[in-house]
Symmetry: C2
Subunit: 229 residues, 2 copies
DNA sequence: CGGATTTGTTGATCAGGGTCAATGAAGGCG
DNA sequence: CGCCTTCATTGACCCTGATCAACAAATCCG
């Protein structure tokens, strides 16, 4: 595997807890892999033999009913961790929604390594606790919010998670979503039509601009916050 | 604090990872506390200065919108762990829904102890990963399932989690829910009326019996599984 | 550049589940 | 024991968001 020390997510991924010598060891176990948009890494219900760090790109975690309805239950960004340490099959599938680059480990090897490196395990625990908090706020959205509240909440969260990179010129208060409308619908527990109508309405009301399919510009943050409930 | 070695959840809680001498140390930090039904331990948004093991009783984790709509985002049973290690305020409130007995620790003290005891931390990580999986399956239910599918799924999960204690005579395939109808509605993202109607319909269709308010007897497990989607 | 395909928008209609309201059944407590 | 409070059920009605369908706009490629 190529050099962990120069890894783009070196300081943000769980590896940040490791010393250079430990990193070298872990690095030998891992291997980089590019996956193209749309590719599914892990299937719901199958045994998940790998875990990974995301270096680049965005992936989705999808749970589905027997008759094919889909709910996105997690969104994975660079520096996030994928997979299910400590055995068990994956309770959801994992697919790339943009071209992505991963740093993949065999689960068993990773588990073993983690057991010997408490700091790594603590990083993983912190991350998992954060994910759990996020999932639970999301449950409130899915269970109790109206379509307009859902879309407003979504835009605010995305603005927060996507427009942060400090290098970027945030002159434009805009950002580019890594999702299409159907995926947004699958995140919010709505249909694509309702989602689209909400976007249209928000634009008509002047809350946002939609300069292109995936671009969002927020005009009235306060109103959006109000709307999110 | 009283004796950890004779604790009812000794072998099921995260403490199971500790040796007797370690247990003694942790035991000195903790204190038992009874809480009565309805009492709220932690409030959403407030700093959460404590973590705890549940010895007895059932608690709920509740997230709410500004205007008071509530969604139950977690259910806590004996041997489960409560609270948010590693700082931060609690993103949901925690209330007892039956009389309960807890084993409470100061968060900072607990964090410190955990940092020195990797096995404990691993147990906590496993538990948290399990909770995250559960939360995600729950998201599918909230976002994509119909009222009847929600209630069927709920009954199946409760049958699984509640009727298991091996000592109990499972002659009757029945079990007693620790929730009232409103709480079930808050778990499923429904209103109390819809929930009630679904129960009534299932009884009319012979799938279940309702010998008393909180008792459930499952007559047709296969049909219920079918219905859960 | 231009046809084909995918993705998004808009409209019309419908139904699942919410809301409001009344009644009934349990459980609590003096 | 019997009143009172809480909790659950049932009914009537309505509204949000789903469904079905047509069309428009990007994007993909040869």
């Amino acid at each position: 595997m190529t050099d962990c020390l120069s890894c783009i997510v070196r300081n943000r991924a769980i590896c940040a807890s490791l010393r250079p010598d430990e990193l070298l060891l872990l690095g030998r176990m891992g291997r980089r892999q590019r996956v193209s948009s749309g590719h599914t890494l892990l299937w719901e219900g199958d045994d998940a033999p790998v875990v990974a760090n995301v270096l680049e790109g965005v992936l989705k975690l999808v749970a589905a009913t027997a008759d094919g309805r889909e709910q996105i239950v997690g969104i994975v960004f660079p520096s996030d961790f994928i997979g299910r340490p400590f055995g068990k099959e994956s309770p959801y599938s994992v697919s790339a929604i943009s071209a992505a680059e991963l740093c993949i480990f065999h689960r068993d090897q990773f588990d073993e390594f983690a057991a010997d490196h408490p700091d790594l395990q603590q990083k993983l625990l912190r991350r998992t606790l954060g994910e759990l908090d996020r999932a639970r706020r999301w449950m409130l959205l899915l269970g109790r919010k109206s379509a307009s509240e859902k879309v407003a909440s979504f835009l605010l969260e995305m603005a927060d998670r996507l427009s942060s990179p400090p290098g970027a010129a945030d002159t434009a208060r805009g950002f580019e979503l890594p999702f299409g409308r159907q995926q947004i619908a699958d995140i919010l527990g709505l249909t694509i039509e309702t989602t689209s109508r909400q976007f249209t309405k928000m634009r008509a009301d002047g809350l946002i601009d939609l300069p292109s399919r995936r671009k969002i510009v927020i005009n009235d943050l306060a109103a959006l916050n109000e709307m999110a409930g």
